[in-house]
């Protein structure tokens, strides 16, 4: 039998998870619209379908814990606390963006939130997460580094070097694989000799587990439990969250390598309506409450778009700023 939600978290926290997932979906779908209008340019990788992973995982971490991610990271940043309007302004390339318009979609960063960056070289964030975990231990700080990455990153040398290093030095790193089955258009079993990603840690003596990445509660429980273990043991751990992206790899990808049947099967497991239904069935929220959450998220995203549209472009002199201290 499914765990009762109230046995996991208080009502307001459960509703918060739903609010975050709805805001994330609305934000990403708005990005798609703004890309089509030409307001967002460059690469744009959207997170729709995977919301339960970022939302559940972030809820299972402490605010002091570092978070790093790859280039599909708008939602991780927003859920960690980045203002949607400043993220949208970044995507528009405006001076008010979270990185002054210099990073764009793939390079969000806010050290005041311990959100330590979106990295766009596949697997580039692995050793950086290990280094942040070292710094935390060296300085006697009670924090871990949570490192999100995709299934495509696990065949980079960085992944293996970093797992080995994290265990060798016994550093508090929580590796969180978002297995959405595709590295651009190459399915996991066509790129990995062992497609069960969580099993690949055995060569490094790192415990791991697989979790349903379409269920925000499962992700939350797994991450919270794993994070406590990492903190107590000062050792790395890996979670494989099995999920699915509803859109192509980027806006440039029509995703023709996936069958309609497969797509429909996963759409039926959309983490938002399924969690919403549970909230209603278990008497935590009414349908009208959920509708109000959606309306509020739509307003927030519209305000973000307006803010981005009205924000100034960076000054020309900014080109030469921030290269050196």
């Amino acid at each position: 039998m499914e765990t009762k939600l109230r046995a996991v978290l208080p009502d307001q926290d459960l509703i918060r998870l739903y609010e975050q997932m709805v805001l994330s979906r609305e934000f990403e779908e708005s990005c798609a619209e703004q890309y089509t209008k030409g307001h967002i340019t460059g690469f744009l990788h959207l997170y729709s379908g995977q919301e339960a992973v970022a939302v559940g995982a972030t809820a299972g971490l402490h605010k002091d814990d570092y978070i790093l991610s790859a280039y599909r990271e708008h939602v991780q940043a927003i859920v960690r606390g980045a203002e949607p309007k400043r993220v949208m302004a970044e995507l528009f390339g405006k001076a008010t963006g979270i990185c002054k318009g210099k990073g764009g979609s793939m390079h969000l960063f806010d050290p005041t939130l311990n959100f330590m960056g979106g990295y766009a070289i596949v697997g580039g964030q692995f050793p950086i997460a290990v280094g942040l975990a070292f710094a935390a231990r060296y300085r006697g700080e009670d924090r871990l580094a949570a490192c999100f990455f995709g299934d495509g990153a696990v065949n980079q040398g960085n992944f293996h070097e970093s797992l080995n290093w994290a265990r060798l030095w016994n550093l508090p790193v929580l590796f969180i694989c978002e297995n959405n089955f595709y590295g651009i258009g190459t399915e996991v079993h066509r790129s990995s000799a062992l497609p069960d990603i969580h099993k690949r840690t055995c060569g490094y003596d790192i415990p791991s587990e697989k979790v349903d990445g379409m269920d925000v509660i499962s992700v939350y429980q797994a991450v919270r439990h794993a994070a406590e273990w990492v903190r107590e043991q000062s050792r790395p751990y890996l979670i494989e969250a099995v999920t699915y992206r509803f859109r192509g790899h980027s806006m440039a990808d029509p995703a023709k390598y996936r069958s309609t049947a497969e797509h429909e099967m996963w759409k039926a497991r959309d983490p938002l309506p399924s969690f919403g239904r549970r909230l209603v069935v278990e008497g935590i929220a009414s349908q009208s409450h959920l509708d109000a959450i959606l309306a509020k998220a739509q307003t927030t995203v519209q305000e973000a778009v307006t803010f981005a549209e009205q924000s100034p472009w960076p000054e020309d002199r900014e080109v030469w700023e921030d290269i050196y201290v």
Partner: protein, 328 residues
């Protein structure tokens, strides 16, 4: 002043900065228990312990990546790549990450880290262990590049590098480790970046060089003095920041220039220096800028032919004579 080797000057700088600042840490392949392939880290493990002086796996890209994360987290890593040739395994973290992070994240973080790497040719280590890759690093904005030629500069530049809040690639020359020189005793002896030194004053021609090439240029200048040729020798000390003012002023005085690089000539840094001199000294140049470079070949093993591939004192002297025989 104390007489010491380039190696001992580096070792002293590391020890002094480890003592001064508890956030400084050291790691690299065989730097702790083995005390470094070139023994630059001798005695560090014994004095500073296992949490500050650490051996790493043979994972060069991760050596740099972990340093980046640690630097972002408030530690000052001074890491060693066993030789600069292995930096090529770490170019993703060095170039795609280390030099980009501050900029692409809008100046919200900084990376106080040093990457030490011995390099250069002349020890019969053949093609994969004899490269001079300085141009690779100075080509990319976002990292400083230090190339000490003397024991005093080795100490002073390394201390500056460790205290700087930017990433620094610190290129040591393997054939200079045993060279000796006078080194100031002051524990606050710092050599600023972007300040070339005039190793020798002269009036007929300016030789612009760096690292071991500066030492060979000095020897060439002594040789040429016997022939009545007065050479001014400029040692760049850092390639980024590049002190152009010092060598431009010198060439404006002498009217002739020879630029010396140990690296390959094709797209090497000497071409950039020659362009700067032509741009800023065009009206005062008495002859085309001459250029001495490593040969554009992979390094051979045999000492008879290895010598042909690396600029020698005689090659530099010959280039000076050639420049003096030419005119615009």
């Amino acid at each position: 002043m104390s007489d010491m080797t380039y190696r001992d000057a580096l070792n002293l700088a590391l020890k002094e900065e480890l003592r001064r600042d508890p956030s400084v840490v050291i790691w690299g392949e065989d730097v702790a228990l083995y005390e470094g392939s070139f023994k630059v880290t001798r005695g560090l493990l014994a004095e500073f312990g296992e949490e500050r002086v650490k051996d790493t796996p043979i994972s060069e890209n991760t050596i740099i990546g972990v340093a980046i994360g640690a630097a972002m987290g408030g530690v000052r890593p001074v890491v060693e790549l066993m030789t600069v040739n292995f930096a090529l395994l770490a170019m993703d973290q060095l170039v795609n990450h280390m030099t980009k992070i501050r900029y692409m994240f809008g100046g919200q973080t900084w990376l106080p880290m040093v990457v030490r790497a011995p390099g250069g040719g002349g020890s019969q280590l053949a093609a994969q262990h004899s490269q001079s890759l300085e141009t690779f690093f100075m080509h990319c904005p976002g990292m400083y590049v230090a190339v000490p030629a003397t024991p005093a500069d080795a100490r002073g530049l390394l201390k500056t590098a460790i205290r700087d809040n930017n990433p620094v690639v610190f290129l040591e020359h393997e054939l200079l480790y045993n060279s000796r020189g006078e080194v100031p005793d002051d524990p606050e002896y710092l050599v600023p970046f972007g300040a070339a030194s005039v190793l020798r004053e002269g009036t007929d021609v300016t030789i612009v060089a760096y690292s071991r090439m500066s030492i060979l240029a000095l020897q060439a200048a002594v040789e040429l003095e016997r022939e009545g040729i007065s050479c001014e020798v400029i040692d760049l000390r850092t390639l980024n920041p590049l002190d152009t003012a010092t060598f431009i002023a010198s060439v404006q005085k002498t009217g002739r220039a020879v630029v010396v690089e140990e690296c390959w000539q094709m797209a090497g840094l000497g071409g950039h220096l020659a362009w700067l001199i032509h741009r800023d000294c065009f009206d005062t140049l008495l002859a085309p800028v001459n250029r001495v470079s490593g040969l554009d070949v992979p390094m051979p093993y045999s000492r008879k032919i290895e010598k042909l591939c690396i600029p020698q004192m005689e090659t530099i002297a010959a280039a000076v004579r050639e420049t003096l025989s030419q005119k615009y």
